[in-house]
């Protein structure tokens, strides 16, 4: 596998840019896809955001100075793109971004690309009740198993703050699941 530094050097060189970009997409497409998918929830929207993310990376790679790791930078771009996507949709539909998320959760039951069990669906509903930042922290820590240090770089938040956010998120989720336990069996 090509190292991150070599990849960045090749991406910033017009002669090798296309091949390097192909390699970059190949290396990160799945990780970024699942990261975005957990935020926007629907496959088609995820595809749009993922493409926008890679286009932004391609167009701005010259401004990447290497102050942070490449994947941290890309995660940050994809997170911002996902949030922007939700906010734009909310503005267009003249509803709040929370309502956009609620609608997306409601649509999961009929989504052919959601193969989750009743408890997995319930977990997604519980995550959707969290404030946006806590959702991000929970998804990235719990499902993607990022370390707090990595999260701190991506989300530009202190490790202490992230730990606190994660604990609160888990607490809220377990409480939500307990109070909605009856609907587990029915859904």
């Amino acid at each position: 596998m090509v190292t991150e530094n070599d990849l960045v050097t090749a991406l910033q060189d017009n002669k090798h840019k296309e091949a390097a970009f192909r390699e970059l997409v190949s290396q990160y497409k799945e990780r970024l896809y699942w990261h975005i998918r957990k935020i926007v929830l629907n496959h088609d929207d995820t595809d749009d955001v993922l493409q926008n993310t890679f286009i932004k990376i391609y167009k701005n790679i010259h401004s990447f100075k290497g102050d942070s790791k490449l994947y941290t930078w890309m995660y940050r771009i994809s997170t911002n793109e996902s949030i922007t996507f939700i906010n734009k949709r909310a503005k267009r539909k003249q509803i709040s971004s929370e309502e956009v998320q609620e609608n997306a959760i409601q649509n999961l039951t009929s989504d052919i690309y959601f193969e989750g069990t009743a408890i997995q669906l319930q977990l997604q509903k519980a995550i959707a009740t969290l404030p946006p930042k806590q959702q991000l922290v929970f998804n990235m820590k719990y499902f993607d198993e990022h370390t707090y240090e990595e999260l701190s770089e991506i989300l530009e938040t202190s490790v202490g703050g992230l730990k606190s956010s994660y604990h609160i998120a888990v607490k809220k989720i377990t409480e939500y699941l307990k109070t909605n336990e009856s609907s587990f069996t029915t859904t």
Binding site: E18, F21, R22, V25, S26, K29, E30, Y33, W34, R37, K38, L41, H43, D47, L50, Q51, F54, I55, Y58, K59, Y113, F114, E115, G116, T117, I119, Q120, L121, L123, Q124, Y142, F143, K163, Y166, H167, V170, K171, I173, T174, L177
Partner: protein, 165 residues
């Protein structure tokens, strides 16, 4: 508590014990949650992503060819027709609407007069009428009985004047 005589030299991170319960609770609680999200991607989606992206106009730099819904001929015909309609509309807009008494509702005229908006003298109006107009006027006297006519004349007309004339 007495100071320990022997120390191990080990240290713990700051606030480790304060946060211990919370960390333990979080770990235990999260262990009960499902580890998978349940989301799936369409089959073969990731296989074509590199090609899809490299063909994107913002990356390939190729301009997107826009296919017109209408041919140029139809486009020009529609443009000319639209221009004519616009000119006619603009021309009609500036043209004064011709006033014709027949276009005015009679009831509106009646209401206008009854409201006292029209100040005219009966003599002025009659002077404008010719003899033929006078004869053609319909006085609508058919509905008045001879008896009523007689009593009206007796009350309003001075008989001495009639006799003198």
């Amino acid at each position: 508590m007495d100071k320990q005589k022997h120390t191990s030299g080990f240290k713990v991170p700051k606030d480790y014990f304060e946060a211990f319960e919370e960390n333990l609770f979080t770990t235990l609680a999260s262990e009960e949650l499902p580890k998978e999200t349940g989301f799936a991607a369409p089959k073969g989606y990731f296989d074509t992503l590199e090609d899809t992206l490299l063909q994107h106009p913002e990356i390939s730099g190729k301009e997107v060819k826009v296919r017109l819904l209408f041919s140029n001929k139809i486009k020009y015909a529609v443009a000319i027709a639209a221009s004519i309609v616009l000119v006619v509309l603009l021309f009609n807009q500036n043209k004064a609407i011709p006033l014709d008494i027949s276009s005015v509702d009679y009831l509106a005229i009646e209401n206008y007069i009854n409201a006292g908006e029209l100040d005219f003298d009966v003599y002025d109006v009659s002077s404008l009428l010719s003899e033929n107009d006078n004869s053609s006027l319909n006085y609508e006297t058919e509905g008045i009985s001879e008896e009523n006519m007689e009593s009206y004349l007796l009350e309003t007309v001075d008989e001495s004047i009639l006799l003198n004339e």
